[in-house]
Point group: C2
């Protein structure tokens, strides 16, 4: 663990608030990082229902009151300033990537904080399951599948999955460890047989980087937090704010909180 | 198990649809029963957010599209006719207890189906944990506590708990069994020490019946599905429909589905 990685969540957020715009991977280890989606109130029902109906890809950790920039996940944080980088969307198109969205915030906005697989990658490593994308220094591979999410209002779209190659003898451990963490995507949705998910070539992911599958590894697929963003952008709300990829919200919540019996 | 208790969920619903108005306890054993709350769309956001923020007392199994009387929990069912008895509320006051609400249904209504402790009582019995309220032929004891739910919009109120006396040596088993079922209230919220929850006298529950605590039993408290109804009625929406107490919606979902790793 480097000195950089030893920062507390509050320290990390203070640096982002001051303008540091770097990916948050490895920051404040052991603390939950979250995806951010911010929408006008008129779209918030659809998003909240989409999360209720699709808890594996959309584990909602917190939903704010309209206009509030505060969350129970980090009571001292300000959601308008404390992420390293944001994306601003207008009519479904990327409009800007600022490091502060204070000027864009208003009383009509609702923020959704969604669990992220960083939490379960830590748990996998602790259980002795290698995480190939980390070993290889790459972003995880992500794929659109042939499985549809349950639609909610104007939101619909395919389940997007992340894939991690796991040594065959450790697949049961990987299932057990992640099944105990439903708030950060939970158990895999599929093990092996990528063709059955409609994935033709693991070497050509739809998002992220190709990750090499080592001899004896089996591809294991988890529901992915890209799912709600993909559904959202396809439905083109007039205005939205999200985190920039990899530039997550660092919460005060220990990852261990997500480990259920 | 009696002949009565061996009916399938579809059989049970058909009898209720035909007008049978009896409590659903023991019907279609092994299948999930659900609490029903139906609200105008204008109140639905508050209720959905209240569930997201208070998953222990308000485990949302399904939320319908506005106007729909269909649920994924039982695709052939009609929510307007298939419960044994309903309650109709106007401005927070009980207005009627019909066996059919077809005439009251309209395109503005959203139905919430909420997990119920019947599912985990079955699991407790299967694990060898006696369920005293069933043994004594009484309704479970329920109490308002001094713990507040997280408010959501116009909805706020205390956590309501159910109490089951459990032999001290079986308390760990009771915790483990129910912790694996978060969609039907999950692990207990409190074990022993009723005073710490603000409960002065276990013999005088706020809802349900007093249940005798046998020698060597410890009172164990679970979050209770009365919580959302109490919050809702206190906030006095202009119109609501719920199930009548004990007259639940019998779904097609096996209880075993709720048992997580």
């Amino acid at each position: 663990m480097t000195a950089t990685a030893a920062r507390t969540p509050a320290d990390a957020r203070a640096r982002y608030r001051a303008g540091l715009a770097v990916p948050s991977s490895g920051e404040a280890p052991g603390h939950t990082q979250a995806n951010l989606v911010v929408l006008p109130r008129e779209w918030a029902w659809d998003m909240l229902l989409f999360g209720q109906r699709n808890p594996r890809p959309v584990p909602l950790l917190d939903v704010t009151d309209p206009g509030s920039c505060r969350t129970v996940l980090a009571p001292d944080a300000d959601l308008r300033t404390d992420l390293p980088r944001y994306r601003v969307w207008r009519d479904g198109e990327l409009a800007d990537e600022p490091t502060d969205v204070t000027e864009l915030w208003n009383d009509d906005l609702v923020a959704f904080l969604i669990g992220c697989s960083f939490s379960f990658e830590t748990a996998l490593l602790e259980a002795g399951v290698p995480v190939r994308n980390i070993e290889q220094g790459r972003n995880v591979s992500m794929y659109r599948t042939n499985r549809a999410c349950r639609p909610a209002g104007r939101l619909s779209g395919p389940l997007v999955v992340s894939m991690r190659p796991v040594p065959a003898s450790l697949v049961p451990t990987a299932v057990q460890v992640t099944a105990r963490m439903p708030q950060v995507h939970g158990a895999p949705v599929h093990v092996g047989a990528p063709g059955a998910l409609g994935i033709a070539d693991l070497g050509r992911p739809d998002f992220g980087d190709p990750v090499e599958i080592e001899d004896g590894d089996v591809p294991v697929f988890w529901a992915c937090g890209v799912t709600p963003q993909a559904a959202l952008m396809a439905s083109r709300p007039p205005f939205a704010i999200t985190h920039a990829p990899g530039h997550m919200f660092v919460t005060d919540v220990p990852d261990a909180v997500h480990r259920q019996l």
